[in-house]
């Protein structure tokens, strides 16, 4: 027999992750989660890094998962608040290689500012949750979590509490799981969460939750343990251990996969006993769901809703109830799976009118340059997200505000090369793009970031931001220079006039080849603000072969005609189509030119 190891829950998670084939681990330190990354850092075959915060850590982990390697990301309970933005939408996109989010809660607030119960996050994000109750389970459940993650295409929440993370116990090592890296396949409608795609993914999530509930019913992680007394106890995590000691003769429903709740297994417990208690620390998370089945249960009226439990406390709390006359038996009322709305059918034969990048928008120029290079553009949120839609199809991901840089970092780290580029707007850069840039510099990421600086928060209607210094009343403050911010961090940065297509293309070409991390600020004020018309594009109908290269830029001012493309009156004369035309069929007549 293999030698047993004596591990804390956190060490067990680290070893369990490596055994399960995880190749990437990141997080932000926070008690009681910290020792997981400290442990993976000492192990072979897994890359470990500290990120600047939990949000960046999760975005980095998503990048690594997309690149195809199994990944864990660790944080304490309040850390998931910081990472909540990517976490909530990650539920919609799902994963490529398995992704396990580890949250370590701190009942009793040994070293925390609050006592929030992160089981609620599993329900909130509609993702499966596993809760180990000792070190062996902490070790084993990581592999189970990865299996669920890949089978159901979802992040999995692995939740511990202080006593699980810091408690120690014997762990029997298991045979390592053989995992092949998963090839990354671009899938815009899965990874770019613009409204039309997110609506489809939301239905996938709701259907997935019901499939996961069926899995929870069958899962050996949820065990109905026979007892000899007339008391049944529903519990998970360390509360299960306390209750087992307090009531050794009771029946137990031990929940290892504790979300979604297996209703039928709960009902089966009631077939064996006449009184049931839920023993859980903090919120009445299981209790409320059991009550919703119409079943009587002893819960937070007896078990404290704050602080940690222990076996004596559990015994004293439940003992009086055990002495009382049991409640009348009730039949459970199984909630039917929720109905999904009927998606509105687009009227047959009517062209849709999706929003598009404006004629002359400088973002188009960035995408034209990026398309030429084999880089996966990790996107962000703003007008430039429209670059993901046909015919441009120039963004691979859009998860949440500020996610582009962290996802680029994780993706490139996992593949060991400059495979992805981060694309972020100026306002989004100030919103949450600076911290991941600090992170990418600190973690020595090979990568490129393009800041699409149109000098405004364009998508929402041209609000000010620190880069413009404008306030809601249009008063003016000193401005912050993005290039100086980057250089202050220590990142190489150039600012390029984004209306100069050749210069922009050259800068992107150079940066793609350069080692290390670099930022290109592609600067051009929003055309909706400037209303500048540089000229008009003229078509040489003899030369135009209708090859479609210019039309593929998705400019609303260009349309293929019968013999040649035609230029509409909305053309601003930005000249990008002139640049991409291989036959010299387009030329720019500048405003004021005599023609």
């Amino acid at each position: 027999m293999e030698r047993q190891l004596f591990f804390s829950g956190n060490e067990a998670i680290a070893h369990g992750a490596v055994r399960a084939g995880a190749r990437f681990a990141c997080g932000y330190p926070g008690t009681p989660s910290t020792e997981i990354i400290e442990a993976t850092a000492g192990l072979e075959g897994i890359h470990s890094e500290w990120c600047v915060n939990e949000k960046v850590a999760l975005e980095t982990a998503v990048g690594a998962s997309l690149a195809g390697v199994r990944t864990i990301v660790t944080m304490k309970h309040v850390g998931l608040n910081v990472a909540a933005d990517p976490f909530m939408t990650l539920s919609l996109t799902g994963v490529n290689a398995g992704l396990v989010v580890i949250t370590a809660d701190d009942p009793g607030m040994h070293s925390s500012q609050n006592e929030q119960d992160n089981r609620n996050f599993a329900k909130f994000a509609k993702v499966p949750m596993l809760e180990p109750s000792d070190s062996q389970e902490a070790y084993d459940f990581v592999a189970e979590a990865f299996k669920l993650s890949e089978e159901f295409d979802t992040p999995v929440l692995l939740r511990t509490t202080t006593r699980i993370s810091h408690g120690r116990g014997q762990v029997l090592p298991r045979v390592p799981v053989e995992v092949e890296p998963r090839e990354y396949a671009r899938d815009i409608s899965k990874y770019v969460m613009v409204p039309q795609y997110a609506r489809q993914r939301n239905r996938v999530v709701l259907e997935r939750l019901e499939k996961l509930r069926r899995r929870a019913e069958e899962s050996p992680l949820n065990v109905l343990e026979a007892g000899t007394s007339d008391l049944g106890i529903i519990a998970s995590g360390v509360a299960y251990a306390y209750a087992r000691e307090a009531f050794p003769k009771a029946w137990f429903l031990k929940l290892g996969m504790s979300h979604p709740l297996p209703y039928a297994k709960v009902a089966r417990l009631y077939e064996h006993v006449s009184r049931v208690a839920v023993v859980e620390e903090l919120d009445p998370f299981f209790e409320e769901q059991v009550r919703a089945l119409g079943l009587p249960v002893i819960g937070k009226a007896a078990i404290p809703a704050d602080g940690e439990l222990d076996q004596e406390l559990v015994f004293r709390a439940l003992e009086p109830y055990v002495q009382r006359k049991p409640p009348r038996r009730r039949r459970p009322v199984m909630p039917p799976p929720p109905r999904l709305a009927t998606p509105p059918k687009p009227a047959a034969g009517l062209p849709v009118r999706p929003p598009v990048l404006c004629p002359g928008c400088s973002h188009r120029s960035v995408y034209a340059a990026l398309r030429k290079r084999r880089l996966a553009p990790m996107g962000d949120i703003g007008c430039y997200t429209l670059g993901a839609l046909p015919p441009l199809l120039s963004l691979d991901s859009c998860l949440c505000m500020g996610a582009s840089i962290g996802m680029m970092a994780g993706f490139n780290k996992a593949l060991g090369r400059k495979a992805a580029v981060g694309v972020i707007g100026d306002s989004t850069f100030f919103h949450s793009g600076i911290t991941p840039l600090v992170d990418a510099f600190y973690n020595e990421v090979e990568g490129m970031v393009v800041v699409l600086d149109n000098r405004t928060t364009a998508m929402t209607g041209h609000q000010g931001h620190p880069g413009t210094g404008l306030h809601p009343d249009r008063s003016q403050s000193p401005t912050i220079d993005i290039q100086k911010v980057c250089e202050g961090i220590g990142v190489r940065c150039v600012t390029v006039d984004a209306t100069d297509h050749k210069a922009l293309d050259a800068a992107i070409k150079d940066e793609a080849k350069a080692p290390g991390l670099g930022v290109i600020v592609a600067l051009a004020p929003c055309v909706l603000v400037t209303r500048e018309v540089a000229g008009e594009v003229v078509v040489d109908e003899e030369r135009c072969s209708l090859c479609g290269v210019c039309v593929d830029l998705g400019c609303p001012a260009l349309a293929p005609g019968d013999d040649a493309v035609s230029v509409l009156g909305t053309c601003t004369g930005c000249g990008l189509c002139v640049e991409v035309c291989k036959r010299g069929a387009l030329s720019l007549a500048c405003a004021g030119d005599e023609t």
Partner: protein, 198 residues
């Protein structure tokens, strides 16, 4: 529904849908009715469809409704799309000379539908088509397409001349009020002459 009238204004960003809705809301308020309105305008400046709904009656509960009694369309394709909002006794008031071509049509992936009469007939609703662009230009500015259509729609909405005037005055800046009042009158007249012809 329940004595509440629902009017939906549809078009493309930049066509003055929101101002049109504001005028209608002020008019209904001038008639002493309760008014509720809502709009989807997030993509208005990026060439997306815009939908604004105005509901009025003795007492209005919801600011939105899935069906409209009257749809006012400032663009032909959006008008045909707006037919889907109309109930059986509904009316579409549609600008038939204004076409804003979506990208997929520009790229010739799809065709631009133009048979609004056929589509309205298949749906069994009443159709009032207006050369709103021509009317607006005649009034003095092509930007008054929205108000010209309101003038046309006034022939099927339960408000008097004075109430419309108060609505227009309340919602439109003073310096462009005159031209808009003209566009409103010409739009109304355009429908009246259409009725005589048919």
């Amino acid at each position: 529904m329940n004595g509440t009238t629902t009017v939906s204004l549809v078009g493309v960003g930049g066509q003055g849908i929101l101002l049109g809705a504001a005028i209608l809301a002020e008019t209904a308020a001038a008639a002493g009715l309760e008014v509720k309105a809502s709009e989807v305008k997030g993509m208005a400046q990026r060439g997306g469809s815009v939908l604004s709904t105005v509901r009025f009656g003795k007492h209005v509960w919801s600011p939105v409704a899935p069906r409209a009694d009257v749809v006012i369309a400032t663009e032909l394709l959006e008008g045909i799309r707006g037919l889907g909002l109309l109930g059986p006794k509904g009316t579409l008031v549609c600008a038939f000379t204004t076409r804003i071509t979506p990208g997929s049509v520009l790229r010739r992936e799809e065709g631009y539908p133009d048979d609004v009469s056929g589509a309205a007939a298949r749906r069994g609703v009443r159709l009032l088509t207006v050369d709103a662009e021509g009317v607006a230009r005649e009034a003095g500015t092509v930007r008054a397409v929205n108000v010209a259509l309101l003038g046309a729609a006034s022939t099927v909405l339960p408000f008097g001349e004075e109430q419309w005037r108060r609505g227009l005055e309340a919602a439109i800046p003073a310096k462009i009020l005159e031209v808009n009042l003209r566009a409103f009158e010409l739009g109304r007249a355009a429908v009246a002459s259409q009725e005589v012809e048919s």
